[in-house]
């Protein structure tokens, strides 16, 4: 129990970081109605680009921006494969994901794992978030506002604000229409292909940004760090919807729910790891089962448990 409480701030921080990726998944899965598997690759792309640039002395924000750009590019590739080449969205995502495996390794100089040198104090201080900051703040050697929960929390809120604004604009509304009803969108003069490409870019940009934050946090990038990212993203989206769906109706709050969904997911996983002697290799299986169950429940609910219909009363045309 004690180890769980001790690990809690770390789990929440990590959950918040993955939450940014989950918001990216939310954009494709919920808004565009596309299951985009690119994210398993682009998550690592973000991490790899960040670590390499940061390691070569580039500034923090430049490295983060480059990671974002790399993600946008990955989304562009999937988007073009889907719209210009007519490949089904799922397959287009898988193709990009597969290709990115090699690209990511190439970015990392053909190594599967590249670390950020955090023993160098000056280098560590340059980071936005780090696992070490959690302990530092607890020990009092670092000011409280450097705590990863606070930093990533503010970061997430900023992203949610920007997205809230964007999806309220004419362009953002046309993206939502593209996902909600492509026929209607085209009849209103919206190029749905452009909408899909733009949405995929935006989504993967966020995913890569999240990857960059995670590689900072754990102080290394790993070729397989994005494995199963889509499942974690979906888990966060679904958990957020199940837990907060009834109270969070506003669009910004829905994105917040996704972010909090990721936090809940990580906290639960952390609890499972700390409180039982489970082999961590089973985590992916557990994740897959959790997501499968949560996706099944609403379907079965609609199929087998019909809400009782009130009979009588006036009918409404």
């Amino acid at each position: 129990m004690l180890s769980f409480i001790g690990a809690l701030p770390g789990a929440v921080s990590q959950g918040l970081i993955w939450g940014i990726m989950a918001i990216g998944v939310y954009i494709t899965y919920k808004i565009l109605d596309i299951a985009d598997l690119t994210v398993d690759g682009s998550f690592c792309t973000g991490g790899a680009v960040f670590v390499m640039l940061f390691g070569s002395g580039a500034s923090l924000w430049l490295a983060l921006l480059a990671a974002l750009a790399a993600g946008l590019l990955a989304g562009l590739v999937t988007g073009l494969l889907h719209t210009a080449c007519g490949i089904p969205a799922i397959l287009a995502g898988i193709l990009t994901q597969l290709g990115l495996w090699s690209v990511n390794l190439a970015v990392m100089g053909m190594k599967a794992n590249v670390a950020i040198n955090v023993t160098d104090q000056a280098n560590l201080d340059r980071l936005l978030v780090s696992l070490r900051f959690v302990q530092d703040v607890a020990k009092g050697t670092r000011p409280f506002y450097r705590h990863p929960i606070l930093v990533v929390g503010v970061f997430s809120l900023a992203i949610i604000s920007v997205l809230y604004w964007f999806f309220g604009t004419e362009l953002g509304a046309s993206l939502r229409a593209t996902g909600a009803n492509p026929n209607m969108a085209r009849a209103q003069g919206i190029n749905t292909d452009t909408g899909k490409v733009l949405g995929l870019m935006l989504s993967n940009g966020l995913v890569a940004l999240s990857g960059a934050l995670l590689s900072q946090y754990q102080s290394f990038a790993d070729a397989s760090m994005g494995k199963g990212a889509i499942v974690i993203g979906l888990a966060a989206v679904i958990i957020g919807q199940v837990v907060f769906g009834r109270i969070f109706r506003n669009f910004a709050l829905k994105m917040l729910a996704v972010s909090l969904g990721a936090v809940i997911y990580y906290t639960v996983i952390q609890a499972v790891v700390s409180l039982s002697n489970i082999n961590t290799n089973y985590l992916k299986l557990i994740s897959a089962i959790i997501v499968a169950v949560f996706l099944t429940i609403p379907y079965w609910k609609g199929k087998y448990f019909h809400a009782k219909v009130k009979t009588g009363g006036a009918s409404h045309a």
């Binding site: 004419e170 939502r176 909600a180 209607m184």
Partner: protein
């Protein structure tokens, strides 16, 4: 306003399911014309409408709207000229978006969509007024999701959206076929009103001969991918359903009355 010249369309070319859907259709609509289109199943009515809307490219011929050649433009690029209402009430609106947002999307048909706000305050009041005129009780539900509306309400909303930014051509594709008779009559009446108020050039596909005769100033009947009957003006006003059936039989060369047409 609309000029269709000798358009052809084959579906599933080279397969056993090959279907010559349009065989050299030509049609010219003058500004303000309201043309009803009838015909049996597979006659090519909806195909003609989709050809004009740009759902796919035609195999031959040309289409121009208001003097602009749109033959090679995809549907979303023709949208600035065309307002559409589909047969399926689900197709014309975005169900997960608000009534307000749907209207705002339609108001920007054919415009560049940038980073300005998607809905302005002035618009909100304007739409409220317009919805009041529809008399469907929607004016107080601006922020409701369209998915909550009934089929009739959705078709009425789609009509409003199609005419919000005055189109050069309004296409109604059996837009009342999925509604109950009472609602269908109401939506038809609304269509008439909107067409008259904005002086819209209109094409309306229908299965119902009576509706086809009662509405509009011109009537065309299609058979086997061709226009076989074309009546307008006084001649159309005097037309009756039995006359129309007789005309149809004469042209199509079949003696048996088409039950499908008679019954619908």
């Amino acid at each position: 306003m609309l000029e269709v010249k000798d358009i052809w369309k084959v579906f599933n070319a080279g397969t056993v399911n090959e279907k010559q859907a349009l065989r050299g259709v030509s049609l010219t609509l003058k500004d303000g014309d309201f043309c009803t289109v009838i015909g049996g199943n597979g006659a090519g009515k909806s195909t003609l409408l989709n050809a004009v809307a740009g759902t796919w490219a035609v195999d031959g011929g040309s289409i121009s709207i208001g003097g602009v050649d749109v033959t090679h433009l995809p549907d979303y690029k023709r949208a600035p000229y065309i307002g559409r209402v589909f047969q399926d009430p689900m197709l014309g609106t975005a169900p997960t978006m608000q009534i307000l947002e749907n209207l705002a999307l339609a108001a920007r048909r054919g415009q560049r969509r940038g980073l300005r706000w998607g809905v302005t305050k002035a618009e909100k009041e304007q739409y409220q007024e317009m919805l009041k005129n529809l008399d469907l009780g929607l004016e107080d539900r601006l922020t409701s999701k369209v998915g909550l509306l009934s089929g009739g309400q959705r078709q009425a909303l789609t009509l409003l959206m199609a005419s919000l930014k005055k189109p050069k051509l309004l296409l109604l594709d059996e837009h009342t076929a999925a509604l109950d008779p009472k609602t269908a009559a109401k939506v038809l009446e609304l269509s008439d009103r909107i067409v008259a108020e904005s002086h819209l050039t209109t094409m309306m596909v229908t299965h119902n001969m009576k509706d086809a005769i009662q509405h509009g100033n011109r009537l065309i009947m299609m058979y086997d991918g061709k226009i076989v009957i074309d009546v307008s003006g006084e001649e159309k006003k005097k037309l009756t359903v039995p006359q129309l059936l007789e005309l149809f039989n004469k042209v199509s060369g079949s003696d048996e009355a088409d039950d499908k047409l008679l019954l619908s």
